[in-house]
Symmetry: C2
Subunit: 149 residues, 2 copies
DNA sequence: CAGGAATGTTAGTTATGACTAACATTTTGT
DNA sequence: ACAAAATGTTAGTCATAACTAACATTCCTG
């Protein structure tokens, strides 16, 4: 296993971070097999990926032990998960595609859309939802003092 | 060079098809060096990719000659370029990001967004543009008989 | 039309990230 | 507590897709 210096996470590495976050789900620790199942890869692939993430200081690796995040790793994983959520919501709430399609597309798009597009998507989703609420219940919002139109 | 049977084009292969289309620009034939420059890769990478596309029946390859599309390759390249355009326009006209960012993101997203999302993007862009026209010139459209509001 | 410049190819290498088979360790059920 | 099951690792391989160095071909230009 040779490690090279490169500061940017690959799509694959981001996927692993995200999977660890999902699998750990609050407990803060993830098992190798669960990660493998979650990503649909074989166990040895997980070992390799974890070692790489450990080398980058994003997770704590101990042979035969559970994987835990470092602080840096945790915040990085959070950012990826946030991007995922924003994209998925945008696809669902703005474009109106169904959850499964949105989920799948978000998994791929989260690795390549930059901050500008992501933030526009977030704004757009919020706007769309706000408008939807207003349409459902126009009086309630119209009554709010000083509501921007 | 070993060729394996797999019907789906990789992102890289789609990039080459698109580059050939852009470089050929009507003439229908593309030179290796121009493709290399267009994609920012070295010349030997182009040779390899072209051979692969030729093996799949998408382009005609003759050593030291220009590359031309087969019918199949031409329509496939067209579909990729169309996806690219739809995504780019969506990012620009709907999300309002600038051309350079939209272009770059479209280059990557075009390989992974499925038909459902692409078609919603197209509809959305058209709708947005229509509305923009209406806002610019309200009377003309307001006069149309039975226009929905 | 000869010879250098431009263009294209071959051969061999590297990086990433998956896989399987076989082995090591840990956990669990009786 | 100990054997079997579950879990994790190592070693070796494969696929994709890039790269460089060196060689081959084609093209221009004097």
């Amino acid at each position: 296993m040779v490690f090279r210096k490169n500061n940017v996470l690959s799509a694959s590495q981001e996927d692993y971070l995200e999977a660890i976050l999902n699998v750990a789900d609050g407990s803060g620790m993830a098992r190798s097999t669960d990660i493998a199942v979650s990503l649909g890869v074989a166990k040895p692939s997980v070992t390799g990926a974890i070692k790489l993430l450990a080398h980058r200081g994003l997770v704590n690796y101990k042979p035969y032990g559970c994987v835990t995040f470092t602080q840096k790793g945790f915040s990085q994983a959070g950012r990826v998960a946030q991007r995922h959520e924003i994209i998925k919501s945008f696809f669902m709430d703005v474009l109106g595609v169904d959850a499964a399609v949105a989920q799948k597309a978000a998994c791929k798009a989260e690795h390549l859309l930059g901050p500008v597009i992501i933030s526009r998507m977030r704004d757009f989703t919020n706007l769309t939802k706000r408008n939807a609420r207003r349409r459902r219940n126009p009086t309630r919002i119209a009554k709010v003092k000083g509501a921007k139109r």
